[in-house]
Amino acid sequence: MIVEAHVARFDSISLDSGSTLAPIEIAYETYGELNGAKSNAILVEHAFSGDAHAAGISPETGKPGWWDNMIGPGKAFDTSKYFVICTNVLGGCRGTTGPSSINPTTGCPYAMSFPVLTIGDMVRAQKMLVDSLGIGRLLAVTGGSMGGMQALEWAVAYPDRVVAAIPIATTTRHSAQQIAFNEVGRQAIMADPDWCDGNYYGKNPPARGLSVARMVGHITYMSDDSMREKFGRRLRGKENFGFGFDVDFEVESYLRYRGSQFVGRFDANSYLYITKAMDYFDLTNGRGSLATALEPARARFLVISFSSDWLYPSYQSQEIVRALRSRNCDVAYVELQSNYGHDSFLVDVAEQADLVRGFLASTFEKVQ
């Protein structure tokens, strides 16, 4: 499959905080071909630490995309039928303007002078891109976790532009527990002396803090079952305890590895800004009850949750479904059985793929 990586530039964007960001760049990839009627476009939204490289093999890194098992010819998001777009979110660090980008007025990275963002801002930036591609209505907007928040925001903010929304393992607003885990991550970064109030560019990044933040994150993405299955109490390369504080257990080794890997590909300030945007996200904000908030939505919905996901538990998806039902919206919902916790939507995709394939086919039929 051909992976096309692009960067789009826009003069400025107005943000929910009242400030303006100018100019901005949006990194995005596309897969498949836009049809003549421009009716087959699907916008895929990445989760917190993802990027625009959703599928295929990156010509730069040689790595598969984060949802390569869902997107491609013959896959759930069938690129021989649909035109799939994935953007890196505003505030990110993988090609789209974020705190590590150069502020044109100072010639230095924005760092903490970057304006605080919302999920609504990210979606507004994507809307600018979709407009510039000449696509009137998206056949579907989809994503898991933070990607699901964006799919919901799209359906409510631009109801005439979305035929179907597929929010997966997500919520209409973060619970205290979800905010709490994000705050632990942020505090780990800001407590690292290398963070230097965010002005670490060109110097040592706050690798220890960012790595600890990622370790906590990884725990919340797994489940008790999947960790027991994957690591148990197995020791790492030794028969007996080391009676010290080096790595003893497999799980320690895994978390340290994932933490240190993350430092190489993610910007600590982006971590702060994006987690804050997730915590601020509340679909009901300024819109009354959830049912009232969803009132403008015209899309068909497919909502999916996973049985072992304790970070975005099924009750949060069911709240969405109940509110949609009370507005008599077209909504399908199922809780899939999986042991992989929140990560299920990325790794345990066989059943999810069947659902998405059927749902998309029937949606596409209706717009033909």
């Binding site: 068909r300 497919l302 909502v303 479904v321 109940r322 039902r325 009370s326 507005r327 008599n328 077209d330 909504v331 399908a332 919902y333 199922v334 809780e335 899939l336 059985q337 059943e351 069947d354 659902l355 394939r357 059927g358 749902f359 086919a361 029937s362 039929e365």
Partner: protein, 214 residues
């Protein structure tokens, strides 16, 4: 494909004669909710052949998956909870096909389906059929027939009702019966349905005949 309800012989729809009757009752381009819709076969047929806006409720996750995969909007929930969230009159028809006897509180389900739907379609196996009566009389045990094939400890049916029982309940609930159909296999039964009908199908609406929805 669908049956002529006035004929004595009913052709099957998707292997079921009650589906054929339901398929005939439902008007084209209406809004339909099927409670306990299984894998969404009936809804899929109604959407494809009658252009209805089809929705379903099903508790079994695997069946919900297959229904969604076939393009039908089904959500996983039990029937009681599934109905509660809908505004009144959200559907033209609410279908309860071979499910009433499996619900914990059939009276409430009946009321709720006629709140959410302008009309209700209820199909159920008739416990008053002569074969059921004979089986129980002769064996002295909980009857097992082709209609009620389960051992008592495995049966999903938690209430047993006859044609007459349902008519009494409809009267008690002041539900108007607009049409009734009785089937034995593929034959329409008109004489003594409480004794000879295997399956009964009712088209219901709320309130007195004068207040029927159009």
């Amino acid at each position: 494909m669908s049956a002529q309800p006035d004929q004595a012989f009913v052709r099957e729809l998707l292997g079921r004669s009650d589906y054929a009757i339901i398929g005939e009752i439902v008007e084209p381009r209406t809004r339909v909710l099927d409670l306990g819709c299984g894998e969404g076969e009936l809804l899929h047929w109604l959407a494809a052949n009658k252009g209805v806006d089809a929705r379903g409720v099903e508790i079994d996750g695997a069946r919900v998956q297959r229904a969604i995969a076939r393009g039908v909007s089904v959500f996983q929930s039990d029937i009681d909870e599934g109905l509660a969230d809908y505004p009144g009159g959200a559907f033209d028809y609410v279908i309860l096909s071979q499910t009433l006897q499996e619900t914990r509180d059939p009276r409430r389900v009946l009321r709720e389906m006629l709140r959410v739907g302008r009309r209700g379609i209820v199909a159920f196996p008739n416990f008053g059929h002569w074969r059921v009566r004979t089986a129980m009389l002769l064996s002295g045990r909980a009857p097992r027939t082709s209609l009620f094939p389960y051992e008592w400890y495995e049966s999903p049916n938690i209430h047993f009702l006859t044609v007459q029982d349902f008519e009494s309940l409809a009267a008690l609930e002041k539900v108007t019966i607009e049409r009734r159909y009785f089937l034995s296999g593929n034959r329409r039964i008109t004489w003594r349905p409480n004794l000879f009908a295997e399956v009964a199908i009712y088209l219901l609406c709320n309130g007195a005949p004068g207040n029927r929805p159009r």
